[in-house]
Symmetry: C2
Subunit: 318 residues, 2 copies
């Protein structure tokens, strides 16, 4: 019932990273490719930071901080404390080990390597068997429109703790961005495409904003299934609920399904939202309910297996 062939997962932050871990365990070694949002990337202290790539990478390497879901377990901030003393910004909490990742990435990019190549090198060094692909090597920056003006994503997300209400979101550079050969090949070879339970606006949104990727997702022959990041009208973490509301969407799995329906065949809601399955089906998608709270490796793996089985059934139906 489940896939052994290549599976592509689209992921943003912590929720996406968790399902990626489940998928990596549910699939044969090397069968998983995770295409990761890079529109949250930022340069701080002169270092290129790719927060979503790092979250996926540290989770897949089994080294992520289990409390936060991001950063490295047990990491300290002694370098950041001194950077702060030197007048540098400290609102973005960079751990000492985490800095090594940014230092290495920055060095390799300065040497002319593509972000895709650097990410492959870093992941391989950490023993990760899944393929982690930045959604693009082009520069895309999420800009959040708020009553205080337009903010850089991390300024909105971390520095201001998602407090400003969101009137709009745009992805600067997206129109000119190109999918990489690696991303195109992954989609072309995929036997299933999984949208992880990441924020549909600022995690999945930027991936869809890359024209080549959007086109491939719309025309994909492989089954495309998503998992709702909204459970019972709230997000497990992050500003997805507030953001959906202020942008005029219904704050529910149904609301997310409506946003993504043009690039999906099926949508998984949490068992708590089983009542929404029939409404989602009315949008033209297939839908099932599964336990989707990923509190440990077992629940990540079970959800991954359920999602893959669902994708398999969607495939049979088309």
């Amino acid at each position: 019932m489940s896939f052994s062939g290549p599976v592509v997962a689209l992921a943003g932050g912590v929720g996406g990273a968790k399902l990626a871990v489940g998928l990596a365990h549910a699939l044969p070694e090397g069968a998983l490719t995770v295409v990761v949002n890079t529109a949250d990337d930022l340069v701080l202290h002169g270092l290129h930071i790719s927060p979503d790539i790092d979250t996926v990478m540290y989770n897949l390497a089994g080294m992520s901080n289990p409390e936060t879901g991001w950063g490295i377990d047990g990491d300290r901030t002694s370098a950041l404390d001194l950077l702060g003393r030197y007048g540098g910004p400290t609102w973005f909490r960079l751990g000492d080990q985490d800095l090594a990742t940014h230092i290495r990435r920055t060095q390799r990019l300065a040497e002319g390597a593509r972000l895709t190549e650097v990410t492959r090198e870093l992941a391989a060094s950490l023993g990760i068997k899944a393929n982690i692909l930045p959604m693009t090597d082009s520069s895309i920056a999420t800009r959040v429109k708020t009553p205080e003006g337009e903010l850089e994503f991390q300024d909105y997300f971390v520095a201001r703790g998602t407090r400003p209400s969101v009137c709009g979101v745009r992805f600067q550079g997206a129109d000119e961005a190109r999918a990489t050969p690696e991303v195109i090949r992954a989609f072309d070879e995929a036997s299933a495409i999984v949208f992880c339970p990441s924020n549909p606006i600022v995690s999945i949104g930027p991936i869809l904003a890359v024209p080549d990727i959007h086109e491939r997702l719309r025309s994909a022959s492989a089954p495309r299934v998503g998992v709702s990041p909204i459970i019972g009208g709230a997000a497990l973490r992050g500003p997805a609920a507030e953001m959906l509301k202020s942008l005029g969407h219904e704050v529910s799995a149904l609301g997310v399904a409506r946003i993504l329906k043009d690039v999906l065949d099926g949508f998984v809601v949490d068992t708590e939202d089983e009542a929404l399955v029939s409404s989602i089906k009315e949008t033209g998608l297939r839908s099932i309910a599964l336990p989707s709270i990923m509190s440990d490796l077992d629940s990540k793996k079970k959800l991954a297996q359920g999602v893959l089985a669902f994708a398999s059934s969607v495939q049979k139906m088309t």
Copy 2:
């Protein structure tokens, strides 16, 4: 008997940093300027590292590792360990906090700041009242000729642990290097110039190799006094003794005095070498013997006071 006016000290690594601490305590706040060797600077992990500046800075800030004399007390290497896992070099032991210094320096240099400006900012952030000046903002690199070929200084010094014998030393870029306005002004205003007990070949040597500085040292009206880094025929630390020997110099305070005599008026030897004072006087220098082993703050301060009193007496004689 001692100075209150501006004093310039020339320093390389740990020995120089120790006397700089003594001088900073012996002089009024802000009266000390330390001109520091930068020919050992290197780029590792894409970061600009200035080992001698950092050693002087951490010592003056009271945060240096008391065991080694360099690095930051209690610093760990968790970032370096991960950089090693990523394939980066680990032979140069960069601590987590220490990395903050290199990250900040690299960022500011990339923004167009001069090394002199960056050093002033870093030192001010650490509460240092003395002026720390890189000997130049130009790029100078010490190259060590050995039977294995010509090596970069840190390759010879750290990676190979000073094991290769030294057939020659050159300072790449020195001929084109310019003294900064800050260094020139410091020499012009100095009422005494102190050569710290640093390696005469690879710590003091590069400073003298900057044509503007050499010219100013030769023609200085202020008394110029040095402290021998060689005690009883050996260096307290580092390869000075082996290097002097293999380059054909006498391995003694007298040998060092002969190398530096054109830019010195007086030379301080350790009390253990009191017998050399008369021979040093024969080279045309004034000379005295003082306890010069700096094991604690008190001995650093006492040596500094003795050196300043000696400089004062030299001034009276000329």
